[in-house]
């Protein structure tokens, strides 16, 4: 192997920085999936009867379903009876009343993750909801947001405090029958974030949720629901990490977005779940259903994702463009290295007139990583003058990895315009030598080339997170830091 190929190999292998475990007393439900567990979760959350019924209906339906096999990912069958479906740090019954009351161990955990939960230290202009295993442990800036009428809280709290909103919208974008993992989530979901932006309000700060899996042998099943009322605007970001463990852990989340007339929702994800070790042992199975509906006229939903973690990523953040003139966007960077597998993409369903969608997908594969883009652009007969532009680019590092593209295009209206472009390239020895000859080290050359490749997506992220995402990609590709 040539020297620069060796450097490439070394650069693409380094340790997972967030693999530590927090030593905190946990309240963990016994492993196993049955109606009693669902009743237990519902009781822990003090949920109303209708929600328990909804969960049970989902569970009974799930029992009739088969695991989906169509994705280009491989994993052994999951033993759903071996997983615990509820884990929460032990605390006073009602949980912390304020940020000061959070268990210091948990607070330290978030500090190590770079998410301080003390408001003075929190990134100016970003409100954070911190979800630790099955519960939300803190939500910052709640009062400040409430002044504008913005509701931002944990999902459990929303069920208690704003049941009418939850009941009106829950399951309207991702119905409980939607797919195997979404149905499972509907039965056993524990926590997540809820936000509601009232009519005409531009949310004064970025909202973000930080998901942390800590307990072993548990699954994390969170559910997020965001509603932007007429003319509202919100930018939301989620981040995720988990400890380093030899067993695979399941993360099956559901996110639903609803944008009414003239509303805009921008949803960004920086996903860095534990990816497993260099031999492919352990890591998170990230099986997520994310979908938004542009319900109103002139509404807009924009998904941006930077997927760098998880042993397997299976997610397709999608937009249903029902309102006339509505806009859907999907910007994605997915990085797989070692034995990671990603099958990710989007669905753009055009129903309204003059609806537009843009898809920009960038896949980076290194080591033995496998990266697939899978996307559907569907133009229904009602969608006069619909337009779509899709671009899928892949970059390969080394000769053991793979990049795959599965675009599906269904057009049922003759006025539609659909474009699809795709490319696959390698970081060549020539490119590295060219950079070296200009004085740039191989490490810097690799991040230069990869960042150039991802630029179109990074520029869609909120400023602070664009810098974070760029650093994260560099970290994943560079030798161990510090």
């Amino acid at each position: 192997m040539s020297a620069s190929a060796e450097t490439l190999e070394r650069l693409t292998q380094n340790d997972y920085e967030f693999g530590f475990v927090t030593d905190v007393e946990q309240d963990v439900a016994p492993p196993g999936l049955n109606e009693d567990i669902i009743r237990l979760i519902s009781a822990k959350k003090e949920e109303p009867e209708w929600l328990l019924e909804w969960r049970l209906t989902a569970y009974r339906h799930w029992l009739t379903m088969e695991r989906p096999e169509w994705a280009r990912v491989h994993y052994p069958p999951i033993d759903y009876q071996a997983i615990s479906y509820y884990a929460a740090p032990k605390t006073r019954k009602d949980g912390p009343k304020s940020l000061d009351e959070i268990d210091p161990e948990i607070r330290r955990t978030y500090e190590r993750l770079g998410i301080p939960l003390v408001e003075q230290e929190i990134l100016a202009g970003v409100a954070v909801d911190a979800v630790f295993d099955s519960v939300s442990v803190a939500t910052s800036f709640k009062e400040k947001l409430a002044e504008k009428g913005v509701i931002f809280c944990s999902f459990s709290e929303a069920v208690r405090e704003h049941p009418e909103l939850v009941r009106q919208y829950l399951g309207t974008v991702v119905p409980y029958r939607d797919n195997y993992y979404a149905t499972l989530n509907s039965a056993v979901f524990t926590d997540g974030s809820f936000c509601y932006i009232p009519k005409g309000v531009r949310c004064p700060m970025e909202l973000s949720t930080y998901f942390r899996i800590n307990a072993s042998n548990t699954g994390q099943f969170e559910r997020t629901l965001i509603i932007a009322d007429e003319g509202a605007y919100v930018s939301y970001l989620e981040g995720c990490t988990a400890p380093q463990r030899d067993e695979n852990q399941l993360h099956a989340a559901v996110v639903e977005l609803i944008a009414l007339d003239d509303a805009t929702i921008k949803y960004s994800t920086v996903q860095n779940w534990y990816p497993g070790d260099a031999e492919g042992k352990g890591g998170i199975y990230n099986f997520v259903t994310k979908r938004g509906i542009c319900k109103g006229r002139n509404s807009k939903i924009s998904w941006t994702q930077v997927e760098t973690g998880s042993a397997i990523t299976w997610k397709y953040p999608s937009c249903i463009l029902r309102g006339d003139n509505s806009v859907g966007e999907f910007y994605s960077v997915a990085l797989t290295r070692d034995y990671q597998q990603a099958d990710t993409g989007t669905k753009m369903i055009h129903i309204g007139k003059n609806t537009r969608s843009t898809i920009i997908s960038k896949g980076i594969s290194a080591g033995h990583g496998q990266n697939a883009y899978r996307g559907l652009v569907k133009i229904l007969p009602t969608a006069d003058n619909a337009r779509n532009y899709s671009q899928c680019d892949s970059i390969l590092m080394g000769d053991q990895c793979g990049a795959h593209t599965f675009p599906y295009i269904q057009v049922q209206n003759p006025t539609a315009q659909v474009e699809h472009e795709a490319s696959t390239s390698k970081i060549s020895e020539d490119q590295l030598f060219y950079c070296n000859q200009r004085g740039i080290s191989t490490e810097d050359a690799v991040s230069l080339i990869v960042n150039g490749f991802c630029k179109e997506v990074f520029k869609e992220l909120p400023m602070e997170f664009a810098v974070e995402a760029q650093k994260l990609i560099e970290l994943k590709l560079e030798g161990s830091v510090g």
């Binding site: 040539s2 200009r438 080339i449 150039g452």
Partner: protein, 256 residues
Amino acid sequence: MLEIKNLHASVDGREILNGIDLSIQAGEVHALMGPNGSGKSTLANVIAGREGYEVTAGEVLFLGKNLLELAPEERARAGLFLAFQYPVEIPGVNNLYFLKAAANAIRKSRGEPELDAMEFWETVHQRMELVKMDESMLKRPVNEGFSGGEKKRNEIFQMAVLEPRFAVLDETDSGLDIDALKVVSDGVNALRGPERGFLVITHYQRLLEYIVPDRVHVLINGRIVRSGGKELALELEEQGYALYSKEPGRARRANA
């Protein structure tokens, strides 16, 4: 400034350079001419440190340092520049950003403070004139979608910004029309100075009408067979390389 002594190098076990001796002083421009396959580009690549070339004997000293011990980026930081025969495209990386990364990597290695965007912009602006670069070329990704002429001009532009002590121009004239050739040559001539040396590799004499060399060397089968003043280039133009070929039979055929 650059001292090459008895340099032997091979590619995949096949010997390409068979004992090169070449000495270039600061302020001098040397031209290296020779037919295809004579080892011109191999010499350029060995000097710059490209992988895949094995040096089997000899040494290369650059400003007194053993060049062959240094990694390619260390050679560049020491002041060595190679204008590529086939400049590489780097999609998504803006030309200006790339150059700034290069300039700052070099400055950092010398313990000099890095230039901020404004300071760098000023340097760049001055240098753009030199090769008649359009500002739009700075904002485009490195060499992507550039015409052959634009790529070569970009190489000379990079050289002007990075201000190396010694530059190797590997067939910079190939694929250039006469106007582009003039622009590139003007750029090189503007950079000539008492502190800087050049090795200009070319197949044709034409380039040397614009970049007038102090010395001309003829490379045949990996060995310098003749050296002389600038008039040697003209002589070669008239008589061809066949005169120097080891195999007399082939030389006769070529002359016929």
